[in-house]
Symmetry: C2
Subunit: 361 residues, 2 copies
């Protein structure tokens, strides 16, 4: 499999894609059937818990690392080599598409993404649109990073990912991380036209970012709506889900399964699935059997080992993982993952042991 | 009504208490019937949104202000004078009982409570217990502040409040605010004996703090479990609710209605009521008719105007408030409030106008 072949535009269930990873444990579970081996990977597995990551990243700003194809590829591969997980997840960040179109955004250590000029009006959104589309030329570092990664992954699938339109919009409106997302939720109601225009724009750029990863060889696409838990169901359904649905449909049309994940979104679970996701990621708060029941037992699930238990004594963690797997059996397919990202202070040896345990279950 | 009379220990439904505020709109609604006037107050109404508060607080650290009876009383009364709300809420902080027993805690502006020595082991909890009980002598500044307040409130009820044991424990274990409360949730599972001892201790001190406010004249008691939304229902029910139940029972035994509130706790709503609360506070995420249905239609509700809309155009806010009131009619009693605290940048005139609107509904 070469970069040239991966460079072609993939049609739904493209045979090249199916031939490489279509029978992998991950894609099988995402497709709603039970593979021989229970698949497992970890959100933020490529990151600060690994000493080799800290060595690779030393001296390079986060977004610069994401946009260096060799470095992003190396970091993406590190946890696959070390842990033997069933999927790689592309090393990137949800604000990468903002940077690629020219938004002044930095990831400030200890804080998170900081946007120099918050977006608060219809004119502000027009200025975003004036930056031009996220086209293939701008996406080249992402495409190159994914191509280099899949060329080395062989039959291990790569999960591409992007932030959902609401979560990107929340960063743009607030200017950075926020606990209550008051400014974003205010704009949604106080100026519905500006909000709709902003969601159109974020859906376009984050959709292009996700589609580029799939076109370049990612075998699945995960949409992260990190902040959707701040919303009522009514606000989510009316003002956010339609834009997420467009992004998910764009990825689905490229022939991959889509995964949708949010934090503290138990109340939104069905609405997030109904936005067009094949698989629902579930955070640690909601047991998988309960999640499956809410979804009518028809949706494959990903999750939901509690990250807080990664540093508990092994017997406590093991009992919890076995419980997660037992509850996950209620769903038509289950990919073991955490119920949130890997905490930076996690002992990598625990993650490796957890993969080994899951593979015996 | 004098401080002397208020100084006596109140029995359930004590006639002195009933005589002063028992027929108030607030207590009537909390008791599950509909008063003539729909009552309204705002969480954090005594605080940074008011210029008179900023003037009073200037140069005084937050916890010092809480423990100055004259200042705490003045700040408590400010929003009652300005807005004509149906209740005062005592100006204090959930970490005040920690300070009163001698825990080294400061409220750092822009950050929140910071604990000098985080609590991580059974020995650490033993050191907390070595500080001695939160007795009447230590509680004197709180008692004095409440007595001075109710003496000036006349027939307007005062709501006393305290942090729930889990939320206090989360601060103690993390050492400060946290997004995921990983350390607290880890301790809960990794060292159940230390966790249980910590919950016993926090229930004692926060229970004593709440009971002191009621004994000194508060007409209702609200328990804030600010961080409970970080928990699964199973963890909440097994490891946190019993301690909250003890605090609620202690306040109930003093003859006042209890209110229980958390953020993003729709999944925990029934469990939090079943911990022994008379009234459930509901955050802005969950519509009140849906909340009432989950509670079997038998529980009075408080809430849940979205704070994000306080800075929206008036017609948007008014339509939202009318919707909240319409949905709240599903409950046997409804006290209008916000679905979270007053944002510091709120225009106080909007709050006054909102009170006037509610009083016409």
């Amino acid at each position: 499999m070469s970069g040239t072949i991966l460079g072609v535009s993939l049609t739904p269930h493209h045979p090249l894609l199916d031939g490489r990873t279509g029978d992998s444990a991950l894609v099988t579970a995402y497709s709603g059937t039970r593979p021989e081996r229970l698949p497992v990977w970890f959100m933020r597995q490529a990151g600060r818990s690994l000493p080799e990551y800290r060595a690779s990243r030393a001296g390079t700003a986060m977004l610069d690392a994401c946009l260096d194809p060799d470095l992003a590829s190396e970091i993406t591969l590190q946890p696959v080599r070390r842990h033997g997980v069933d999927a790689a997840v592309f090393f990137s960040d949800i604000v990468v598409p903002l940077r690629l179109v020219g938004v002044d955004v930095e990831i400030v250590p200890g804080t998170g993404p900081v946007i120099a000029s918050p977006v608060r009006t219809l004119d502000d959104v027009a200025r975003l649109r004036d930056l031009g589309p996220l086209d293939a030329a701008r996406l080249a570092p992402v495409t190159a990073g994914v191509e280099r990664t899949v060329a080395q992954l062989d039959r291990t699938p790569l999960v591409g990912f992007a932030g959902a339109p609401f979560t990107l919009a929340a960063y743009l409106v607030e200017g950075g991380p926020s606990r209550d997302h008051l400014a974003a939720r205010r704009l949604m109601h106080a100026d519905p036209a500006a909000w709709a225009a902003l969601m159109d724009w974020t859906a376009e750029v984050t959709g292009a970012f996700l589609a580029a990863q799939v076109t370049a060889g990612a075998s699945a696409a995960q949409l992260f709506d990190s902040w959707a838990g701040a919303l009522s169901l009514a606000d989510y359904a009316a003002h956010c889900a339609p834009a997420s649905a467009r992004v998910l449909a764009q990825a689905s049309a490229l022939g991959v399964r889509t995964v949708h994940f949010g934090v503290a979104t138990g109340e939104l679970l069905v609405a997030m699935r109904d936005a067009g996701a094949d698989v629902m990621g579930v955070d640690y708060r909601l047991p998988l059997d309960e999640a499956s029941a809410r979804l009518g037992g028809a949706t494959p699930l990903q999750g939901n080992v509690d990250p807080a238990l990664l540093s508990a004594p092994w017997d406590v963690l093991e009992a919890h993982v076995r419980d997660v797997v037992r509850r996950g059996a209620a769903a038509p397919g289950h990919v073991v993952n955490l119920g949130h990202g890997v905490p930076p202070d996690t002992d990598p040896a625990v993650l490796t042991r957890l993969v080994q345990l899951v593979h015996t279950l």
